[in-house]
């Protein structure tokens, strides 16, 4: 058993680390994906043109406007001669307009009616959402800084994500998701292709002609990929830190345990795919049939809360959803134990069921 496992591990590593394409998939592709996805999927928006409409001499209004500009997200719009707030938006001279009470912001606030209107160009919904969220944050900060000024509750919804990412720094939030995605992609594709390649080339016949138990072959073919998957996870976490400054606020062992549970799950799913594929093309297709829904329904790009009710069960069967939640929890939130344990148990359950299913499906038969 030990000798066979050792032989498998040495062989798989020799093959994986010699093949330039494999090296590309294992080490270069994740880096490129991290950089591209991390930046492209980022919903952070800067240089929002902001105009403010207030009575001359309204110091409080001018102060709040300055706070908007100094946040770094907004730049002052050049209104020209236009004075009509909605006209500014329509003409595209401004992306957002703050409209203060005519009687003066400070006076209105003192009377408890400090309503400020924010007009947002919602041509792009994502952009508008960001502007909303920024404005809400700046208001809160302003109210906290100046206790005398009671910030009016803006009439828009509360964004849950702000809890983990108070600066609304989007890469921070996106990167753990992208990491999960990359680890998922690499392990699923490599594992599902590796067993089918043996079947296709005929080397599988060498393996099954030796007196081995099913679990010896399966462990031999999967342990190397679990190790490679973990190395990959470490690589993307390091890249996240170096490229985007994503911190690890929780414990490293939590990251390790979460990654291990996830990698075991995906390697088992990859093996499962290889047991139903006749050749490498089928395995590749099978891999993508799993990967696309897994990525789309993981909460990486679209919030899970917004999924149609019918699709929700699929979300809760998606290992990537739990892994992404775990990564965000550990890296950004400091590894809150309750969330850590519940997500990890779900992932662990999946690892066990996927592995048992792969074991049950595996046959030493040929053709």
């Amino acid at each position: 058993m030990k000798r066979t496992l050792k032989a498998f591990i040495r062989k798989e590593f020799a093959q994986a680390l010699r093949d330039p394409r494999m090296k590309l998939i294992l080490f270069v592709m994740p880096m490129i994906q991290m950089a591209v996805f991390g930046l492209a999927l980022s919903s952070e928006i800067r240089n929002i043109k902001l105009a403010a409409v207030y009575s001359p001499g309204d110091v409080a209004a001018a102060g709040l406007t300055r706070r908007f500009i100094s946040s770094g997200w907004f730049v002052p719009a050049d209104p020209g001669r236009a004075r009509d707030p909605s006209g500014l938006i329509v003409s595209g001279k401004a992306d957002a307009v703050l409209v203060f009470p005519v009687e003066g912001f400070a006076r209105a606030a003192a009377r408890g009616r400090g309503m400020v209107q924010l007009l947002v160009d919602a041509t792009s919904v994502t952009r508008a959402r960001s502007v909303e969220a920024y404005a809400r944050n700046i208001f809160a900060a302003h109210a906290a800084a100046d206790a005398g000024l009671e910030a009016s509750s803006p009439p828009f919804g509360f964004d849950v994500r702000i809890i983990y990412n108070p600066e609304m720094e989007s890469p921070m939030f996106m990167v753990p998701g992208v990491m999960g995605m990359i680890v998922c992609l690499v392990t699923i594709i490599l594992t599902s292709m590796s067993l089918t390649r043996e079947r296709e080339t005929g080397t599988f016949e060498t393996i099954v002609s030796a007196p081995l138990e099913n679990h010896e072959i399966l462990l031999g073919k999967t342990i190397p990929y679990v190790v490679l998957g973990l190395a990959n996870a470490a690589l993307v976490i390091a890249a996240g830190f170096l490229l985007f400054g994503v911190p690890v606020k929780g414990q490293l062992w939590q990251l390790f345990v979460a990654s291990l549970a996830f990698v075991i799950t995906t390697v088992a799913i990859g093996t499962l795919i290889s047991t139903i594929s006749k050749n490498q093309q089928q395995a590749m297709m099978g891999g993508f049939i799993f990967l696309f829904p897994a990525v789309l329904m993981s909460g990486i790009m679209y919030p899970v809360e917004n999924m149609p009710v019918l699709l929700k069960p699929a979300v809760y069967l998606n290992p990537l959803y739990y892994f992404t939640s775990l990564l965000r929890n550990i890296m950004l939130k400091g590894g809150d134990p309750a969330a850590f344990i519940s997500n990890l148990s779900a992932l662990f359950l999946m690892a066990v069921s996927a592995a048992s299913l792969a074991y049950a499906r595996f046959r030493q038969t040929l053709d």
Binding site: R3, K6, D19, G202, T203, E205, S209, Q364, L366
Partner: protein, 308 residues
């Protein structure tokens, strides 16, 4: 040296669902024999070999391989046989050393014993390149020899070779067959499948298979005598129009087989009298000469004849 036959097969059948790949086959193979399976693609040769290697379990009938049965699903059989599949069984992207190390690991061999076996086998096959040579860079014939060495690393009593020489040069084929003779010289039993008649001639005995059934069994000489008890002649019409003669000949009494071989024809008869009678009307320009039937003639008579 163990005693008893290497293979003892009785009424062996192997079914995949409704399809019967091997149908009620019986034979036995003595130790040290070169035993060949001959037959068209899909005749059941590979299935028979895979079963006897312990990769498949018989659907019915019995098979003893080196005296062992299938009561443990073929596990113990796998230990005493070596199997070289018709697909290339080495890893092209590994070195010679890595390939043999992996084969040794699969068999849970003690590293020092594996190294000793490796040296012995390298000497047997005449391999003198460095262990760090990539398998992909080796010529086809050397690859096959190395695959054989890998299949024999655990010192099996019985070696199964499924079309070991397909796709290699004629020179390499000859070298490989010299190797097979060397192996049986060491007391091993070799079971081999082939498409080449010249290779089949080198087998001690041949099992002819068609559609899963064993239709003839014996040494090449026995097969020839069995298929062609009477004389065989080779006819050469030297390009002359001979349609009339040929159609008459096809109806001649006592004709066993009549088939084209390139520009010539082979005609086999029940006895000398039938031959003399049939060839009485041979055109003057044509020539006829007695020949010994080849295995190819046997193959055509027994296998293609049965399909006609």
């Amino acid at each position: 040296m163990k005693t008893g036959p290497a293979l003892e097969v009785k009424g062996l059948s192997i079914k995949f669902g409704d399809f019967t790949a091997v149908d009620d086959v019986s034979f036995s193979v003595a130790r040290g024999e070169i035993f060949g399976f001959l037959g068209a693609n899909g005749a059941g040769k590979t299935t028979a070999i895979r079963t006897l290697c312990g990769l498949l379990v018989p659907s019915s009938g019995s098979a003893l391989v080196g005296g062992l049965d299938f009561s443990d699903g073929g596990k113990s059989i796998k230990k005493i046989v070596g199997y070289m599949s018709q697909k290339f069984t080495l890893y092209n992207d590994l070195t010679v050393g890595e390939n043999l190390d992996f084969a040794a690991g699969l068999r849970k061999m003690e590293p020092r014993y594996a190294a000793k076996r490796r040296r012995e086998l390298f000497e047997l096959i005449g391999f003198d390149r460095p262990l760090s040579t990539m398998v992909a860079s080796l010529p086809g014939g050397v690859k096959q020899e190395l695959a054989l060495a890998s299949a024999m690393l655990h010192d099996p009593e019985i070696v199964f070779l499924d079309e070991p020489t397909s796709g290699v040069s004629p020179g390499s084929r000859a070298r490989f067959w010299a190797l097979i003779h060397k192996i049986t010289g060491l007391g091993k039993t070799v079971i081999v499948t082939t498409h080449y008649m010249d290779e089949a001639e080198q087998c001690g005995r041949i099992a002819l298979m068609r559609a899963g059934r064993l239709i003839a069994l014996g040494s090449p000489e026995e097969l020839k005598r069995g298929a062609f008890p009477g004389p065989m002649t080779e006819l050469d019409f030297k390009g002359a129009e001979a349609g009339e003669f040929i159609s008459a000949l096809k109806k001649a009494p006592g004709l066993l087989e009549f088939s084209p071989h390139g520009m010539r024809w082979h005609a086999a008869f029940r006895d000398q009298a039938a031959l003399s009678a049939a060839l009485a009307g041979l055109p003057v320009s044509a020539s006829a000469g007695l020949i010994k039937p080849s295995l190819e003639d046997v193959f055509i008579r027994l296998i293609e004849g049965a399909e006609r």
